[in-house]
């Protein structure tokens, strides 16, 4: 399973949020993409039925890191910082 690996900067405040209803933790200053990848989540399923995506460019140019919030909003996970009480849904698998 691919996950990000935190190599330094462990000394930051803890953030708690939810992915697909599951409670997960991250650190203040993590992007949503970092937090989701550290926790082993993919970010979304391609709407063109070619499988899961987990981000690619990390600089706001590709389309691979859009995630949906429980309220129905869309966020670019690479350029959004995690916050307490965020609730994220990875889109359901379309096959």
């Amino acid at each position: 399973m691919n996950r990000f690996v935190r190599l330094a900067e462990h000394d930051r405040a803890e953030i708690r949020f939810r992915i697909d209803g599951r409670g997960v933790t991250a650190l203040e200053g993590d992007t949503l993409l970092t937090a989701m990848r550290l926790n082993g989540f993919i970010l979304r399923w391609s709407e063109f039925s070619d499988g899961p995506r987990a981000g690619f460019c990390l600089m706001g140019a590709c389309q691979d890191c859009w995630v949906t919030t429980a309220e129905g909003g869309r966020l670019r996970a690479c350029s959004t910082l995690v916050a307490n009480d965020l609730s994220i849904l990875t889109t359901p698998e379309v096959e």
């Binding site: 900067e9 930051r12 990848r37 550290l38 039925s49 460019c57 990390l58 706001g60 389309q63």
Partner: protein, 464 residues
């Protein structure tokens, strides 16, 4: 005479030096950058609350990084700096920007585009698999988040950044599974005379390779990427390549960083209707400029990796030169506009040296156009809309698309919201090969507004 209104887009090395030079000439520039903080790609800052020092973050470049950050911070009161602001369109005499979902237009007399570069990519089977990132992304994860993209990372592609980022991963404590380069050792030997234009930079590059070798990292040159394969959990499990002797080689890993040197971000120059030219040595299109960075459109200047991939030191020089040009053209009454000939001359001399080195890098780590041409039909070419290589070939053969913009209209390659940043370079080679034309013969994907996707809820300022 009142000072002209000059906008600088980009707060990397080029934009920072441009802003500084403008301030010294009595101009109060507007500086637009979409990033959280200034620094650009190479000197990207880490978020508040992170504690790594300059040396840990920027290695051999730590002094330059500190100098640029301090220079920019000292200018804060003397310019109108707008961080987290995207420049997304241009109309007659005004730049359209968006900040926090609110868009407005900033009028200008002159504009310096210092927009930098993004990774140049060659698609390969399986490159949309979770765990595969662009090389730039793998570095951003490390610099801005103190994370590796995986436990065991394969670096694949070509270019100096491949070795730089692999070394940065090694130093930060990640495992580097292999560094797989499509360029051949012979390319680098042939490039040596040009690379000697900057012995210091060449020595730094050789030191990177020596460090990887010392650490026992497998490094192959002249490889052909075959596929990135997923495991049962649908994440990356291994990378399959063919080595220079034609043998199949597999590398187990849980993450892949891929990049083929860089490509300039030229969309705004395109919207400004600057003339472009094709460089056969790099297969890249760039706005045409004079030695100072003046484009074919009056009042529009370009500097740094947003024009030609010459690296950070050259970007600093180019930023200064473009600002001097803007001052000379638009603010000649100011004393600084006149006294600058001596320093401009020196800057031009070192910029020429940097340009020799740039050509050396292009020769040493060439864009593998032949590999793009040979991609199998079922490879996903466009990540945005999952268009395959085969569909593009069909656009040319069955539908008769004579050039890239028509092919885009037919099969949507380059139509996705990344605007062809990631599929464009390979698309041009594939189309050229099918049509039997040269790469420039199939044209250039036109930039369109918005140059990057806008937040869904963007509203004009007067409507808010």
């Amino acid at each position: 005479m009142t000072a002209p209104r000059i906008i600088v887009v980009g707060a990397g090395p080029a934009g920072i030096r441009a802003a500084q030079t403008l301030v010294e000439a009595g101009v109060r520039p507007v500086v637009i950058d979409e990033g959280e903080a200034s620094g650009g790609q190479i000197y990207r800052r880490q978020p508040n609350g992170f504690k790594r020092d300059f040396r840990q973050l920027y290695g051999t470049e730590h002094r330059r990084a500190r100098d640029l950050h301090e220079t920019f911070d000292a200018l804060r009161e003397k310019m109108d700096y707008r961080p987290r602001t995207l420049a997304w369109n241009l109309s007659e005499g005004a730049l359209h920007i968006v900040h926090n979902g609110i868009s407005n237009a900033v009028p200008f007399d002159g504009m310096i585009l210092a927009t930098g570069a993004t990774d140049r990519l060659l698609p390969v089977r399986g490159w949309t698999t979770p765990g595969v990132y662009s090389l730039g992304a793998s570095q951003i994860a490390l610099k801005a988040q103190a994370c590796a993209i995986g436990r065991r990372v394969v670096f694949i592609g070509t270019g100096p950044l491949l070795y730089l980022v692999a070394t940065q991963y090694l130093k930060a404590g990640a495992e580097v599974a292999a560094v797989l380069d499509t360029s051949a050792f012979g390319h680098r030997l042939a490039a040596l005379p040009l690379l000697l234009a900057r012995p210091d930079a060449l020595a730094k590059g050789l030191a990177l390779i020596a460090q990887l070798r010392l650490a026992g990292i497998t490094m192959l040159t002249g490889i052909r990427p075959i596929a990135i394969e997923a495991g049962a959990d649908r994440n990356v499990a291994r990378v399959h390549v063919r080595d220079a002797r034609g043998r199949d080689r597999n590398f187990m890993c849980d993450a892949v960083a891929m990049g083929y040197h860089l490509r300039p971000e030229t969309q705004l120059a395109d919207l400004a209707r600057c003339d472009f030219s094709f460089d056969p040595a790099t297969h890249l299109w760039s706005p045409m400029t004079d030695a100072m960075g003046r484009t074919s459109v009056r009042g529009i200047y370009v500097a740094g990796d947003g024009v030609k991939i010459s690296g950070a030191d050259a970007a600093e020089i180019a930023g200064r030169l473009a600002a001097h040009a803007a001052i000379a053209d638009l603010h000649s009454a100011h004393p600084a506009g006149r006294g600058a000939e001596g320093s401009v001359k020196k800057l031009l001399t070192s910029h020429r040296r940097m340009d020799r080195f740039r050509r050396g890098l292009a020769k040493g780590f060439p864009w593998p156009a032949h590999l793009a041409e040979a991609l199998p039909d079922d490879t996903i070419l466009c990540r945005c809309e999952s268009v395959t290589v085969g569909s593009l070939r069909m656009a040319a053969t069955a539908l008769g698309a004579p050039e890239v913009n028509r092919a885009k209209a037919f099969v949507r390659v380059g139509m996705g919201r990344c605007q062809g940043r990631f599929c464009g370079p390979a698309s041009a080679e594939i189309l050229a090969a099918v049509l039997g034309k040269s790469t420039d013969g199939v044209g250039r994907l036109r930039g369109q507004a918005p140059v990057k996707p806008l937040p869904i809820a963007t509203v004009p300022e007067d409507a808010s």
